[in-house]
Amino acid sequence: MKARLNLALVAGLVLLLIGLVAFKSSYFDQIAITTMIFVILSASLNLITGSAGLLSLGHAAFFGVGAYTAALLSTRFGWPFWLTLPAAGAMAALVGAVVAVPTMRLTSIYFAVATLGIGEMIYVTMLNWVGLTRGPMGVRSIPGITLFGAEGMVFSMVVTAAVMLAALWVVHRLMHSYYGNSLRALREDDACADAMGIDVGRLKLQSFGVACCLAGFAGALFAHTTGFISPESFRFGESILVLSMVVVGGLGSLYGSVIGAVILTVLPELLRDLGSWRMITVGGVLFFSILFLPRGLVGEVSAIDLIRRQIRHAPGASRAAW
């Protein structure tokens, strides 16, 4: 029941966003699109970090792989959106799988730093492989989203919303199923999940692949709706931004990651005049979330609670503590 309520709320949120069209202002339209793109990123990161417990610090890199794939395929080969979208997802998933295989058996913080390293390597490649990506100059004049002859800002919003809803549906189904249970078992105690018959390696690979594919879709949307991309949008800072959305909204809660995405996209826009305060806000929000709102706004798992429970499980811990 709770799952259905959340889904309804999310759908309502989307309608609200599309309703911003009523303002007939391209500024709001762009914010709406950006927010929806970040909802996809946040939900997909939540799948691996909130549900499967794999702390990834390089999610923006996969976003970037998708964006560059779409941008280059459309500007160099003239591929239309309906082809670049799946291509972006596939490419990002492929890179994600390549990343996941060697890092699978690393424990939490080492996995996190490995993803950081990989994210930076991808960024450095984007910046320096000028022959492919045009380096810091970025790729410009990326065509907008055109399907069956329809195009334009409103149409882009609708398409973005459609992709977002599809992504949310996928993540929702995975999280609220027995598959989701096996992911959460992975998060709680992966060695134990292994002993219970769960193929831990394959699960990590799959969830990572799905999350990266979705990030790739977000990248394609980003490329086509903004018309210009450069490596700067896909750095470590962006990965942390997405991570903050997940943390603020609550690890393990899809509804939460949507809320987190909305808050952390809209808030900096409202503070736009103080433009460079954006990342400070993010840092501050992240810090206070971890400390005071450890479950996030709607989360399943909180850092402090996990610590408390670890004590109860420690061998020799006093029974009186329970």
Partner: protein, 252 residues
């Protein structure tokens, strides 16, 4: 003569210069209730890990239902029909009781199942076995409770239900009596016996003599990595080598 359910053939495990398990051979037949005891450091945990696939043997092999399983990964061993509990109670704290037990039954239910056959046959089968096992251990009333909120005793039952959800052929219990008082130990003994009566083969790895002597038809004793006895409880209790290994420690 039917092949034993579990066969250990000269299983050895060395860690650098230390031999934790030294050429241990033993067999467990279908339907038996066997105890594995030994003083601390005897190698019980290592032997357990060798059986469940956590660590591979340095020499020798482990066979389950006639098939060599040493060297398989833990989840593969589990899927072949070996269920286990943990001495230090590793339930999934932030998941509900129901979800915890279901993990034992999920096995390879995959991505495709989640996306396309929501509520389909596999999901129904998992729900059924989960409900059945929860009823069997008496936790049916607590299905939506977070595992972290359960008392120690109920967590033990949860672990057993989770292990049973996989419909194992061999259930290995890791120090199930740890932390229980005498009354609770008796209840546990009855429960284990009832499981055995249903045809389950059970191996109890224990430190506590009381439980083992009470329920097991046969006891294997380890000391310093070697098997020093393998007989019925009464004989083992009288065995001078066993008494020696425990240094005169009788009832715990």
């Amino acid at each position: 003569m039917e092949a034993p359910l579990l066969a250990l053939r000269e299983v050895t495990r060395r860690f650098g210069g230390l031999t934790a398990v030294d050429s241990v051979s033993a067999e467990i037949g279908r339907g038996e209730l066997v105890g594995l005891i030994g003083p601390n450091g005897a190698g019980k945990t290592t032997l357990f890990n060798l059986i469940s696939g956590v660590t591979p043997p340095s020499a020798g092999e482990v066979a389950f239902q006639g098939r060599v399983i040493s060297g398989l990964r833990p989840f593969e061993v589990a899927r072949l029909g070996v269920g286990r509990t943990f001495q230090n109670l590793r339930v999934f704290p932030n998941m509900t009781v129901f979800d915890n037990v279901s993990v034992g039954a999920i096995r390879g239910t995959g991505l495709g199942d989640a996306l396309f056959s929501h509520g389909g046959q596999k999901a129904r089968a998992i729900s059924e076995v989960t409900t059945e096992m929860l009823a069997k251990v008496g936790l049916a009333g607590l299905v939506d409770e977070l595992a972290a909120n359960l008392s120690y005793g109920k967590r033990k039952l949860l672990e057993i239900a989770r292990a049973l959800a996989g419909r194992p052929k061999l259930l290995i219990l890791d120090e199930p009596a740890a932390g229980l008082n005498d009354t609770e130990t008796v209840e546990l003994a009855h429960f284990i016996e009832s499981l055995r009566a249903e045809g389950l083969t059970i191996l109890v790895v224990e430190h506590d003599m009381g439980l083992v002597m009470r329920v097991c038809s046969r006891v294997i004793v380890l000391a310093f990595g070697r098997k020093i006895a393998d007989a019925d409880p009464a004989s083992v209790q009288r065995d001078p080598a066993v008494l020696d290994a425990y240094l005169g420690a009788g009832d715990e």
